[in-house]
Symmetry: C2
Subunit: 189 residues, 2 copies
Amino acid sequence: MTRTLTAKGAATRQRIVDAAAQLIRTAGAAGTSLDDVRAATATSKSQLFHYFPDGRADLLLAVAEHEAAQVLAVQRPWLDDLTTRESWRQWRDAVLRHYVELGDRCPLGVLTAELGKSSPETRAVVGELYDTWEAELARGTQAMGVERPLEVARAILVAIQGGVVMLRATGRVSYLETGLDAGLAPLLR
Amino acid sequence: MTRTLTAKGAATRQRIVDAAAQLIRTAGAAGTSLDDVRAATATSKSQLFHYFPDGRADLLLAVAEHEAAQVLAVQRPWLDDLTTRESWRQWRDAVLRHYVELGDRCPLGVLTAELGKSSPETRAVVGELYDTWEAELARGTQAMGVERPLEVARAILVAIQGGVVMLRATGRVSYLETGLDAGLAPLLR
DNA sequence: CCTGATTTGGACCAGGCCGTCCAGCGAGGG
DNA sequence: CCCTCGCTGGACGGCCTGGTCCAAATCAGG
């Protein structure tokens, strides 16, 4: 199944995924064609199908995995050590800063809004992202000794998701801020 | 600007909007073509462009307005009288029941996830929906005499949005339930 | 340097899509 | 009764899209 890739090939493949992710963040998955990707990466049609044999679906899946990893990566290192109020506050600020900066061109929004529904495989990727993310948050809420730590962690995740997707749909930041703070209230009170 | 429509014409137009909304709920806006709509309504191409002169964009806007109205309609009459714990609870149950029933074929999810980004006009529709919805909720939180009623109302809205969109992306209901309850906690505590 | 596999270029195709166009149909008002 | 104006049918064109295919270039390694 796994095909042999030289270093050069792997680099090209990575370049394609990066560019595709970038395009999809701004124009959406539906608004991004293979030709757009081809033009943005200065590659040829055959290369796309060489590195992604199943074509578009394959590329979208790779982008979904890339973006899912990205979502968790930008929360490091804060996500690893949510044991004090101060560390939670720093994490909150980092998350908020990140999404305000990105605006409506946001990997998480794309994942939740578009890629999740595009195929069973991408749906699984999104599900896994939620699971690991929630587990990390739950470790933090448990460490804080709050009541119903699992529910609190999940509610925080839902608030971020809602805020991000509303940011995407309206361009307004306040939803994310208010939702996130409400979700964190049990921890900081 | 406003074109004359006979009763028959208005009915046909409505039939097209209804069917298009239905299709888009299940297949998404990107996955629904004008031909699909045509087939589902047993109409002809010329009718689509007769009732929606700007074509696809025009139809999507009409669908967005239709769905936005729908989102508020299913919350009636509970939404009008959120003055007691009991009425909030009934509203909560109605909302939850509705979205669990719809699963991932949900007007709100489509609006937030896809239609919001499709054009400035639809984006405005979504923004207005959020505004009026939030205002209704805020009337309720104020009536309940809770602290920071505006923030609480907004957080509830964000939680619903997040829960619905995660339901859409994963098929899991628990996010909506947990998020909604967390948002309502300040009111029911 | 030779050889086989990997990487690349780009022409090509079939199908689907949006939108245009024109010609009939039907209803309702004068 | 008829005549106008809205309603309907469906063929058609041009464009873009995902996907196939083959041949040339490049590279790795013996």
